[in-house]
Symmetry: C2
Subunit: 304 residues, 2 copies
Amino acid sequence: MTIYELGETALVRAIIRNLDIEFEDCAVIDLADAEYLVATTDMFHRVTDFPEEMSAWQIGWMTAAGTLSDIAAMGARPFGLLVSIGLPNLPPAFVESMIEGLSDCAHECGTAIIGGDTDSHQELTITGTALGRVRKDQILRRCGAQVGDLVCVTGYLGTAGAGMRALELGRAVDDPVAVKKLFEPVPRITEGIRLAESKAVTSMMDNSDGLSLSLYQLAEVNGCGFTIHADSLPVLPGLDMGLGLELALYDGGDFELLFTVAPERLVDARNACELTVIGEVTPVAGGITLDKTREIERKGYRSL
Amino acid sequence: MTIYELGETALVRAIIRNLDIEFEDCAVIDLADAEYLVATTDMFHRVTDFPEEMSAWQIGWMTAAGTLSDIAAMGARPFGLLVSIGLPNLPPAFVESMIEGLSDCAHECGTAIIGGDTDSHQELTITGTALGRVRKDQILRRCGAQVGDLVCVTGYLGTAGAGMRALELGRAVDDPVAVKKLFEPVPRITEGIRLAESKAVTSMMDNSDGLSLSLYQLAEVNGCGFTIHADSLPVLPGLDMGLGLELALYDGGDFELLFTVAPERLVDARNACELTVIGEVTPVAGGITLDKTREIERKGYRSL
């Protein structure tokens, strides 16, 4: 048996069990009296992670965005990005533009590249590591959802997936919003911080693996089920409804926040940021369903 | 012109200049009143960084050691290791053993793996990111060497290089010390912390690029020269002297500390850890010489 048969998730689970690491978007470190340090690392490869049409600047931006999104998911404020790059023989202008994209996204999130490493490599490979800090009484974890809480998301769902389809159909020009969202996602740092400050949120993660897989992960940690309302799913305007639903449920690559809120605190969450209520937390026996009529399949974007 | 012609160093310099990052072994972050946070990231690839003969456990160990050595070089205490792994289709036992090696080295250094990411990739690629903390009044930087300071190192020099030669000659069994040192280097965390506490050290870095390149880097930052004494270089016992000198000067892969000490504080440094005095800091006009008779060439191990 090889790891591809075993599956990345099973392997990761086995490793995490052995190492006694929690399932969170970031590692959480207790360093100071009032704050946690959070840290996350993500590896990206040219072929598997970046559509061919992406510019060097967009490759850099996307790497930083994917890494910083995990900081947003904890309600934390980023304070540094480290970047390791395995470089094939590329023109210096490409590398400079890529670094600029990394740096621009870090600045957009209120931080900067603070260190890094370069190495030669056959395929362009970039590992981003982001550091953040968050008040101990405000940190948002995956665990904490209660039956009856409302399930909420920021932004649109399935937008990156729509961008991918548009690209595949050669319709990049027709769908500039989705393609831009796919290539230049903005991590929800501000929204994460404001939601953390609101103290209205009971659990949170990012939805980069797609809504379905993210819900299954939240359900496992919280020992709960979910009912999602198909009509409530925020789908990019102009998208065919059937396709829109499919993309919203099963396609990854968005960097939105998925979180739960006690119903009586919804107004506080709404004051913190724009959000859409898409369902409720149910007892585990209820499963993870769409309108209580059909089960949402456990599938989505996987890098392995 | 491509980056291979430009050279990694020139590229890295250009990037660092643009980003306003200091040349240090770690990024230094001012987070708390009394302490700095230090962070470093290093990318390793199967073909370029790990001899074929290495076991999975040793690949893991070596990755952690290379990353944690940068924490040691700042006089800091590590408090976490994050690991991103790009995995080809390997047996689960290989991956588990590699993670064990990473974890064992982290424990040896008083820390643990606290987070990570896995991804599929053609060539095994591992990025380690290590976090550390150090008292502000004890941090050891590359800058600070004064003319007249003594140049010191921990351990032997050129040992990893000797291990590499032994392997190439198929004499792994003849030279178990060097080969073990090459495959299972122990980062000088304890020595780094004790040297920092001694306050006897004026500048420090690790020598992983080899003594020559490390001296040139120190010289540039400090605006100084160096005289190194050939007879003082600590070479693994039993090595041919000519080859030993060559390896000590120009071969990388050791994870020893290279540092400068004010002569009147040498006793404090010696109380902190075992060390060898190998030369003195001289005015820049003196260049970087061996016994003031010949220039040490600016060459050594390069990954690009």
